[in-house]
C-alpha cells in the first residue's frame, strides 16, 4: 500500500467507525426509551400508583389515634397535603413525558439511582448494588454452561465433519431435534431424577443452608448445586449446537480450495487449521461474542426452576414489585454491552476478513 492510500484508508475507517458508533448509540437510546415506556405502562401505571398512595395514606390516618380529634375537613386537608408530598417525592405530579425523558437521560448516563421497593441482601437500595450482588451467580452458572457447550460442540463438530455419514454422525443428527425443548424443561426432569428418585443432588438453590464456613467446602457446595442446572442447559443445547457447527464446517470443507489442499496431499490437521478453521473464524467469533453477552440477564425461567439467585430471578422479582429502576438498570446495561459487542465485532471482522476490509467504506 502506498502512503497516500493509507491515509485515505484511515480516514475512511474513521468515518465508518464514527458512523457505526453513532448508529449504535441511537439504537441504544431508542431501545432503552421503549423499555422505560413499557415498564411504566406508557404512563398508565401512574394512576394505579396514585390510587395506591391515596389508599395507603388514608389508611395510615384512619389507624392513627392522634388524628381522631380533628374535624373531617381538617383531616382531609392533612391527608391531601401528605398525598401531594408523596406524589412530589415520587415525581408523579409531573407529566410522564417529561419524567420519561429524565429517566432516559439518567439511564444513558448509567446513573441508575435507587430502587423503589427492593434492596440487596446487604440492605443497599442502590440499583448498582442490587444488580452487582446477583451478577456473580449468573455469570458463574451461565458462563460455565455456555463455555462448556460452545467449546465442546465446536471440537466435537470438527471431529464429526471428518466422519461425515458415520453412525456417530447420524445419531447426533437424529438427536438434534431434542433441542426443541429449553433448558428449564430438562431441568425439571433432572430434578425429578437426581433430587427425588435418586436423591444425590440438591433440587435448587446455590449453596447449602447454612452455608459452609470454609472456602473449600463452600466451593464444593456451590459446585454440587451447579451440576443439575449446567447439565440441563448442556443437554438442551449441545446437540443442536454440534449439528449446526458440523453442517457449517461441512459446507466450508467442500469448498474448492479445500479440495485443492487435499489434492496437494497436505495433512488433515493442517487442512483443518488453515483451510477450514481460518475462514470460519469470523462466524465462530461472532457466535462466541453473542453468547458472552447472552450471559447478561441469565435466563429468567431456568433460574426460577432451580431457585438460582441470579439476574433472571432479580428481573422477575423486579417486575413483580413494579420496581422500574431495577428493570431499567438491567436493560440499560444489557443494551450497552450489546452495542459494545456489536461494535467490536464490526472492527474484528474488518481485521479478520479481508473482503470486509476492502468494502467496509463503501458498504453499509
Amino acid at each position: 500500500m502506498s502512503g497516500g492510500g493509507t491515509s485515505g484508508n484511515i480516514r475512511r475507517v474513521l468515518v465508518f467507525t464514527l458512523a457505526r458508533l453513532a448508529a449504535l448509540f441511537v439504537t441504544v437510546v431508542i431501545g432503552v426509551y421503549l423499555t422505560i415506556v413499557i415498564a411504566h405502562g406508557g404512563g398508565e401505571l401512574d394512576d394505579l400508583r396514585k390510587a395506591q398512595i391515596r389508599s395507603e395514606i388514608s389508611e395510615a390516618f384512619a389507624m392513627d389515634d392522634e388524628f381522631r380529634d380533628l374535624t373531617p375537613e381538617e383531616r382531609n386537608k392533612l391527608i391531601q397535603t401528605e398525598i401531594e408530598r408523596e406524589e412530589t417525592r415520587l415525581r408523579l405530579d409531573e407529566p410522564f413525558i417529561y419524567r420519561s425523558a429524565d429517566y432516559l437521560w439518567q439511564a444513558i448516563n448509567l446513573n441508575l439511582g435507587h430502587s423503589e421497593q427492593m434492596h440487596s441482601d446487604g440492605g443497599s437500595r442502590r440499583v448498582y448494588h442490587i444488580i452487582g450482588e446477583r451478577l456473580p451467580a449468573t455469570l458463574l452458572l451461565f458462563g460455565t454452561a455456555n463455555l462448556l457447550v460452545f467449546f465442546s460442540s465446536i471440537f466435537f463438530a470438527l471431529f464429526l465433519s471428518r466422519r461425515y455419514g458415520s453412525r456417530l454422525d447420524r445419531s447426533v443428527v437424529a438427536l438434534a431435534p431434542t433441542s426443541a425443548a429449553p433448558g428449564w424443561f430438562y431441568g425439571i426432569f433432572l430434578i425429578l431424577v437426581f433430587a427425588f428418585l435418586i436423591p444425590v443432588l440438591p433440587s435448587g438453590g446455590m449453596v447449602a443452608a447454612p452455608p459452609p464456613v470454609t472456602t473449600a467446602a463452600y466451593a464444593l457446595s456451590v459446585l454440587k448445586h451447579m451440576l443439575l442446572p449446567v447439565a440441563a442447559m448442556f443437554i438442551s443445547s449441545i446437540f443442536i449446537s454440534i449439528y449446526s457447527w458440523r453442517t457449517f464446517f461441512l459446507i466450508y470443507s467442500s469448498e474448492d480450495y479445500v479440495e485443492m489442499a487435499r489434492a496437494k496431499g497436505l495433512p488433515p490437521r493442517m487442512i483443518e487449521r488453515r483451510y477450514i478453521l481460518r475462514p470460519t473464524l469470523p462466524p465462530i467469533l461472532t457466535s462466541f461474542a453473542l453468547m458472552l453477552i447472552g450471559l447478561w440477564g441469565g435466563a429468567i425461567i431456568l433460574e426460577q426452576v432451580f431457585n438460582w439467585p441470579g439476574l433472571g430471578t432479580l428481573m422477575f422479582e423486579a417486575i413483580g414489585h413494579r420496581d422500574t429502576p431495577v428493570i431499567i438498570g438491567a436493560v440499560v446495561i444489557f443494551a450497552y454491552l450489546l452495542a459494545i459487542t456489536v461494535f467490536l465485532l464490526d472492527i474484528m471482522y474488518a481485521i479478520l476478513d479481508p473482503r470486509v476490509r476492502l468494502e467496509g467504506g463503501k458498504h453499509s
Binding site: 448508529a23 449504535l24 441511537v26 439504537t27 441504544v28 431508542i30 431501545g31 432503552v32 421503549l34 423499555t35 413499557i38 415498564a39 405502562g41 401505571l45 461425515y164 443428527v173 437424529a174 438434534a176 431435534p177 431434542t178 433441542s179 426443541a180 425443548a181 429449553p182 428449564w184 424443561f185 425439571i188 426432569f189 430434578i191 425429578l192 433430587a195 427425588f196 428418585l197 433440587s203 453442517t247 461441512l250 459446507i251 467442500s254 440477564g297 429468567i300 425461567i301 426460577q304 426452576v305 428481573m315 422477575f316 417486575i319 413483580g320 413494579r322 428493570i327 438491567a330 436493560v331 444489557f334 443494551a335 450489546l338 452495542a339 456489536v342
Partner: protein, 443 residues
C-alpha cells in the same frame, strides 16, 4: 412451486420426517377430539374447578400407575341411594328409614378420603340421622349422629372425634381389623354404611351419596383441586398448536414481507428497517412479555399479539434480506416490471414465493419454540387466567411442590405432551431442512 412439490415427495424417504408427521397428525387428531368432546365453554367451567369435581379424589395418580405396582391402588367408589328406594316405618307424624349403602372393598391400599354427601328435603324440621359402619367380620361401629342441612357433607376421614375413638385416621381404621391397623393392612370384603334416618315431616326425603376416594383416577390423575388433569392435557393440545402456529405464521410472514419491501424499495426504507431491527435486538423479549403479563393482561391472545409484534423486526430480517437481494436483480422481476406490475404485486407475487420453500424448514422448527414460550410464561405464573394449558398444569405442580410430595405424574404428563410436540415439529423441520437445502446432501 415445482421444487416444493418434488421436495414434498421426498419426505417419504426420511423416517424421522415420517415420525414427525405421525406425531403432528396425532396431536391434530387429539385437538379435534378435545374440541368436540369438551366444548370450549365447558372446558373453561371445568378448569375453574369447584363443586363440579367433588366426586373426584384429590391428587390421585393416573390409573396406569397400577401396572407397575405389586399392590393395587384403589379407585374411587361411589354408592348412591335415596330414601325413596328403601322401605320405611311410618308413625304418627314421623317416620324412620334405614338406608344401607353397600360396597365391596377389594384393593390392597386404603382410600385417600371418605365423604358422605346428604341432600335432604324438608319444610321446617329437618331429619335426624345416625351412621353405622358394618365390617365384613360382623363388627358394627357407630359413626355419630347428624342433623343435615339441605345439602350436607359428612367428612368421615376428617372427623377428629372418630379418629380419637378409633385411634387412627377413620378411612384407614374403618377398613381394617383393629389389630391390623398398625400394619396398615386392608380387610377386604363387603362393607355397609347404614344411615338410620328419622324424618319429622311427611314430605321429607333424603338422598345419600357415599364416596370412598381412590388413589388413582383416569388416564392422567387429578390435581390438588380434584380437577382431572386429562382436561388440561386434552385442551392444552389445541391451544398449544394454535399458539405455536399463529405465532410462527405471524412472525415469519410479517418479517418476510417487511424484508422484501426493504429490499425492493432499497434506499432509506431499507436502512430504516435495518435500524429498527437493531433496536428490536436490544429489547429483551421475555422480560417484556413478563411485564405485559404483570401489568396489562395475561390473556394468551394478548401475549400472542406481543410475541408477533416483537417478532416482526426479528434478526431473521437480515437473513431474508441476504436471500432476497439477488432475486431483486433476476430477469423475471425485470420482466414483471416491464409488463407494468405494481410494487405490491412484485413483492407479494414474485419475490416472496421464490424464497418460501427455503423458509419452510425454519418455519416448522419455529412452532415448538413458541409452544415452549407459552409454557415458560405459564410456569412463571403468567399463563392465561382461564384456559387450561400444559404450562399451567406444570405451574400448579410447582406451586404444590409436586416433586417433593411424590406426585411425579403431575409433572411428567404435561412435560410428555410438550416434549412430544417439540420433537414432532423439530423432527419434521430438520428433515425438511435437508430436503429443501440440498447443498448439504451433495457432500
Amino acid at each position: 412451486m415445482n421444487r416444493f412439490m418434488t421436495g414434498l415427495r421426498q419426505i417419504g424417504q426420511y423416517p424421522s420426517a415420517m415420525a414427525g408427521i405421525l406425531v403432528i397428525l396425532f396431536l391434530v387428531g387429539l385437538s379435534l377430539y378435545a374440541v368436540f368432546a369438551i366444548p370450549y365453554r365447558q372446558a373453561l367451567d371445568l378448569w375453574r374447578g369447584g363443586e363440579i369435581w367433588q366426586d373426584h379424589p384429590r391428587n390421585a395418580a393416573p390409573a396406569w400407575v397400577n401396572w407397575f405396582r405389586l399392590n393395587n391402588l384403589p379407585s374411587t367408589i361411589i354408592v348412591e341411594k335415596s330414601s325413596a328406594d328403601v322401605e320405611s316405618e311410618n308413625f304418627q307424624g314421623w317416620s324412620r328409614v334405614r338406608i344401607p349403602l353397600e360396597f365391596s372393598y377389594t384393593y390392597d391400599e386404603f382410600p385417600s378420603e371418605m365423604n358422605l354427601f346428604l341432600k335432604s328435603r324438608f319444610q321446617d324440621k329437618g331429619p335426624f340421622i345416625r351412621l353405622f359402619w358394618e365390617t365384613p367380620d360382623g363388627r358394627e361401629i357407630l359413626l355419630g349422629g347428624h342433623r343435615p342441612r339441605l345439602s350436607h357433607r359428612v367428612a368421615l376421614s376428617q372427623d377428629r372425634n372418630l379418629e380419637r375413638r378409633l385411634d387412627a385416621p377413620p378411612h384407614m381404621a374403618l377398613l381394617s381389623l383393629p389389630d391390623d391397623i398398625d400394619k396398615r393392612k386392608v380387610l377386604k370384603g363387603d362393607y355397609r354404611l347404614v344411615i338410620d334416618a328419622v324424618f319429622f315431616e311427611e314430605e321429607s326425603s333424603l338422598e345419600t351419596k357415599f364416596i370412598s376416594y381412590g388413589r388413582v383416577h383416569g388416564p392422567a390423575g387429578t390435581d390438588h383441586q380434584r380437577r382431572d388433569i386429562m382436561v388440561a392435557l386434552l385442551w392444552g393440545t389445541p391451544i398449544a398448536l394454535a399458539f405455536g402456529l399463529l405465532a410462527a405464521v405471524g412472525t415469519t410472514i410479517t418479517t418476510l414481507i417487511i424484508a422484501a419491501t426493504g429490499v425492493w424499495f432499497g434506499n432509506w426504507i431499507d436502512a430504516a428497517i435495518q435500524r429498527i431491527t437493531e433496536v428490536n435486538m436490544i429489547l429483551p423479549m421475555l422480560p417484556i412479555l413478563v411485564m405485559v403479563g404483570a401489568l396489562y393482561s395475561r390473556s394468551i391472545w394478548v401475549m400472542l399479539g406481543v410475541v408477533v409484534l416483537l417478532g416482526i423486526f426479528s434478526a431473521g430480517i437480515k437473513m431474508y434480506r441476504a436471500m432476497l437481494l439477488p432475486i431483486r436483480e433476476s430477469p423475471y422481476i425485470e420482466a414483471a416490471r416491464a409488463y407494468g406490475a405494481g410494487h405490491s404485486r412484485i413483492i407479494l407475487r414474485y419475490m416472496i414465493p421464490r424464497v418460501l420453500p427455503v423458509l419452510i424448514p425454519g418455519f416448522v422448527t419455529l412452532i415448538p419454540t413458541f409452544v415452549f414460550l407459552e409454557a415458560s410464561l405459564a410456569v412463571l405464573g403468567l399463563g392465561d387466567p382461564v384456559l387450561p394449558t400444559w404450562g399451567k398444569v406444570l405451574h400448579d405442580a410447582q406451586g404444590e411442590s409436586a416433586l417433593y410430595n411424590g406426585y411425579y405424574y403431575w409433572v411428567i404428563s404435561p412435560a410428555f405432551m410438550l416434549m412430544l410436540t417439540g420433537l414432532g415439529f423439530a423432527m419434521l423441520g430438520f428433515a425438511l431442512d435437508r430436503i429443501f437445502n440440498p447443498r448439504l446432501r451433495s457432500i
